[in-house]
């Protein structure tokens, strides 16, 4: 290659002013990990209080602040930015582009995140405390009855929303315009496909969320009554708007996770992904369906029966494309030559636990049964199976899988496997019993509970401490790899890995694909 290379700038300005997709990706990943630890700390406080019946450590009001911030920080601070970080690192390298299409905007979309979260976290120190109305912030608890800090929460949501929208526009522009010659849409690695679809979802629904919080702001400060019946509004309107954002949001979180495991399972099965085209179509169908099922979160608000039936049928349909994806992953493994390095372990963990979360999701879609499940710990168990064992496990798999490519060093495999098994066992001890207490009648978001739920709650808390502790192992392993991991120089790192990112040197140089690669038009996608 004739172009002359230059490395990164030195000092803090490298990070402040960078427009390099790899630097920005790295910052996103570290930031999201920091948020994961913060959100995890909130969860530890929750589980410590719920260790036994009775109030021991915190007051009920503070407990609600913890559940609220745990949800917000994990969804908006940990999971979403972590996948944006992954997209930044990988999409240009997977499609043979030198960088993202809009690198300056890329810098900005990252750098408004830390102030946004600082603002959110600062509400903890304000008079009246942090937001205490749950991450779903239903009005009027979040408007008329909220602490004054809610205004800061609203502004923080606006900032995070802007960041997400800019990140998504960037991904769409990159995938549409920067593909290497010969990289047709149906050759895109599945991770790129899932992110492209996710980005469209984000651009469509983040403004809806911004609308919802703006209406709250108007109700609180400017005398409107969007969500107050006393002024001609409707509190349920808030829920419709919120879930019109909120349901696609859960697919925003899980689709890139699908993409990740669709890269990793073929690599460690040494066999191409089964049903590539059907995977793409299934992803697109899930995305489409996600827009028309929002009110299944609201079966108990008193919708007319026709509405209930429609949302029930539409929601049940999602099981079809989701099932197709699971069947495809298992067919990919079928008659492959499997090996079980840490990324594969986390991917299989994802597959098993996400499927369980999918089953409980199907159960929750049945409206009459949902009258019993709704807002109990059964729901809490369900969405942690899809969010933690789904999104977080897949993200962890991704870090182990691509870390050697990023750093040129191999992580400690034994410690990685230990991390997997401790996480897997800890996770299940935490969340499996929550199905039981939920079915037995324990509502979610309570700081204290009746005595018959005591044993399972204690079990859950112990599991949560184990799962929390396993993340320290992860952090240690990643840092030890970066500092002193065994060097790898093989471009492919993993013998079964396919795709353009495995054709560049290891570690990936600061600039890749300054000259577009030639994509073999006959080659199978990665």
């Amino acid at each position: 290659m004739g172009a002359h290379h230059h490395g990164p700038a030195r000092g803090i300005t490298r990070w402040l002013f960078t427009t390099n997709h790899k630097d920005i990706g790295t910052m996103y990943l570290w930031f999201s990990f920091a948020m994961f630890i913060l959100g995890g700390a909130f969860a530890m406080i929750i589980r410590a209080e719920l260790f036994q019946p009775g109030m021991q450590l915190v007051e009920p009001g503070f407990f609600n602040q913890m559940t609220t911030l745990h949800g917000l920080v994990m969804v908006f601070g940990a999971i979403m930015p972590s996948f944006v970080g992954l997209a930044n690192w990988l999409i240009p390298m997977m499609i043979g582009a030198p960088d993202m299409a809009l690198p300056r905007m890329n810098n900005w979309s990252f750098w408004i995140l830390p102030p946004g979260f600082l603002m959110l976290a600062s509400t903890l120190f304000m008079e009246g405390g942090a937001p205490a109305f749950g991450w779903t912030f239903y009005a009027p608890l979040s408007t008329t009855y909220a602490a004054p800090s809610v205004t800061f929460f609203i502004f923080a949501i606006h900032v995070l929303g802007m960041s997400s929208i800019m990140g998504s526009i960037n991904i769409i522009a990159t995938v549409m315009n920067m593909r290497a010659p010969g990289m047709s849409y149906m050759k895109l690695p599945l991770f790129v496909w899932t992110w492209l679809i996710t980005a469209f979802l984000l651009v469509a629904v983040m403004p809806v969320l911004a609308g919802a919080v703006t209406m709250m702001l108007m109700d609180i400060h400017f005398g409107t009554s969007f969500f107050s019946a006393a002024g001609g509004g409707d509190p349920v309107l808030f829920q419709h708007i919120f879930w019109f954002f909120g349901h696609p949001e859960v697919y925003i979180i899980i689709l890139p996770a699908f993409g990740v495991v669709s890269q990793i399972i073929p690599a460690f099965s040494r066999k191409p992904l089964f049903g590539y085209a059907s995977m793409v179509y299934a992803t697109a169908s899930i995305a489409f369906l996600s827009f028309i099922v929002w009110a299944h979160h609201m079966y108990t608000v008193g919708m007319p029966v026709a509405g209930e039936l429609y949302f029930m049928y539409a929601t049940m349909l999602i099981a079809v494309p989701t099932g197709v994806k699971v069947f495809n992953w298992i067919s990919t493994m079928w008659r492959g030559a499997l090996s079980f390095e840490t990324p594969m372990l986390f991917s299989i963990g994802f597959l098993v636990l996400f499927t369980i979360g999918g089953f409980t999701g199907l159960m929750l879609s049945i409206a009459p049964a949902d009258f019993q499940y709704h807002d109990t710990y059964f729901v809490v168990a369900h969405f942690h199976y899809v969010m933690v064992a789904g999104a977080v496990f897949s993200m962890t798999a991704a870090v182990y899988f691509w870390l050697p490519k990023w750093t040129g060093r191999m992580y400690n495999e034994t410690m990685g496997k230990l991390h997997f098994w401790v996480s897997f066992v800890g996770f299940n001890i935490t969340f499996f019993p929550q199905h039981f207490v939920g079915l037995a009648g324990m509502p979610r978001r309570v700081p204290d509970y009746a005595l018959q739920f005591a044993d399972f709650n204690m079990m859950s808390s112990i599991g949560a401490f184990v799962y929390g502790a396993s993340q320290i192992l992860f952090l240690y392993n990643v840092i030890a790899t970066i500092v002193a991991g065994e060097k790898v120089s093989d471009e492919k790192v993993w013998d079964g890995a396919e795709g353009l990112e495995w054709t560049v040197p290891t570690p990936a140089p600061y600039h890749t694909f300054e000259v577009p690669p030639k994509v073999d038009t006959a080659a199978a996608h990665g």
């Binding site: 109305f133 239903y138 066999k271 029930m312 049964a369 700081p447």
Partner: protein, 374 residues
């Protein structure tokens, strides 16, 4: 409980898990005591079993692969990567299974929504953090009361033992007759709550400004307990629902007693009460209505301190105003509609004479009534 003791309890609990799981921990939904509840339970079990069967098949194939298709066994990987026939099959078959699930789900849902021909109507209103029940009739003075958590603060904060129905007990339960179709009209006074009794399979949101309907026909006498299931603020976890289902005769005599009680109460509003009588009734009311926010010694918390406060030591009319109308924009509710005049007089008298607020003021029910009239 100390940390050491907690650890000990944790250890003890862990060692006895398998036993406990069999002995006392409920792990599944209850079929409950209504026909709808039993139908919902059957539906739940049907879907659960279908999911478990599919799960066993899918995971069975996966684990077969994990065991037999290992690189370490020297397997040469196959290279197949698509099959339209298979894809169509595993799109169509799940779809048909879903249709099979949708049929019973639809019929149960239609029954849940059949609110017609109720024999008794009860208006349920959610408040932060209690329920109010009103038996609707044409009398013009229907029986109505609040149902408050009766678990003591001491039990919640672990200085007293916790009873068997910890957090699931109230001072006055809802009473309904068995074998009667009871219609619940559900609404809220402040934020959204949700009224749930698992064994009656009724869960409906209580939304301020709107009225939701639900119904239940309980077939067995007994006490059924539930909780608020929509996050409604700090004490969301402390507003249980308790329903006594009794025979029609028992219900009728209970209703007659409630009506008589109401008549006496109306009569007593004009009677002068002694300071002692007011103080003892006031203390009881304080401990159910005020203590959560204002503290057991009037020291404050979510709400302002009452001990030494300007309101409790100052002008009686201000004190009446705050108590009856609440303070807009704060958690201080308007208690005028929640407490009778006698109760209001008692609790205000108590606040003005307890916690070192020795004003010696006596507020009579008639004072409250005349203040309300303006």
């Amino acid at each position: 409980m100390s940390f050491k003791k907690s650890l000990f309890v944790a250890g003890a609990a862990m060692s006895s898990w398998p036993l406990l799981a069999l002995a006392q921990n409920q792990v599944n939904m209850s079929p409950g005591v209504t026909e709808i509840g039993a139908e919902i339970y059957d539906l739940h079990m049907l879907i659960l079993i279908i999911c478990v069967i599919i799960g066993l098949l899918v995971f069975g194939v996966m684990f077969y692969s994990i065991i037999y298709h290992r690189k370490s066994r020297g397997v040469v990987p196959a290279q197949f990567h698509e099959s339209t026939k298979v894809e169509i099959a595993w799109t169509a078959v799940p779809f048909l299974i879903l249709v099979g699930m949708a049929v019973p789900a639809t019929s149960t849902l239609l029954e849940v929504y059949d609110n017609d021909e109720a024999e008794l109507d009860i208006l349920i209103t959610g408040y932060q953090w209690k329920w109010r029940y009103e038996y609707l009739d044409d009398s013009g003075a229907p029986v109505a009361f609040f149902s408050n958590l009766s678990t003591s603060q001491e039990a919640i904060y672990n200085t007293e033992d916790k009873g068997q129905n910890y957090l699931l007990e109230v001072d006055e339960p809802l009473v309904i007759p068995v074998d009667t179709k009871v219609r619940f009209l559900i609404t809220a006074n402040d934020v959204i709550h949700s009224w749930w009794v698992p064994e009656m399979a009724v869960k409906r949101d209580a939304i301020p400004g709107f009225i939701n309907e639900a119904w239940s026909k309980v077939s067995e006498e007994g006490i059924y307990r539930g909780q608020c299931t929509e996050l409604c603020g700090a004490y969301h976890g402390f507003m249980p629902v308790v329903v006594h289902a009794v025979s029609q005769e028992e219900f009728d005599s209970w209703m007659a007693a409630k009506r008589a009680e109401k008549a006496t109460e109306l009569a007593s509003a004009s009677v002068e009460m002694s300071l002692d009588a007011l103080m003892s009734e006031g203390e009881a009311i304080y401990n159910t209505q005020c203590v959560a926010c204002h503290g057991a010694a009037g020291e404050g918390g979510v709400g302002k301190a009452i001990a030494g406060s300007a309101v409790a030591l100052g002008d009686i009319n201000t004190h009446l105003d705050v108590s009856i109308k609440g303070v807009a924009g704060t958690a201080m509710q308007a208690f005028g509609g929640q407490l009778s005049d006698t109760e209001m007089a008692a609790v205000i008298t108590y606040q003005r004479n307890a916690f070192g607020n020795n004003t010696g003021d006596v507020v009579q029910p008639a004072d409250v009534a005349s203040y309300k009239k303006g």
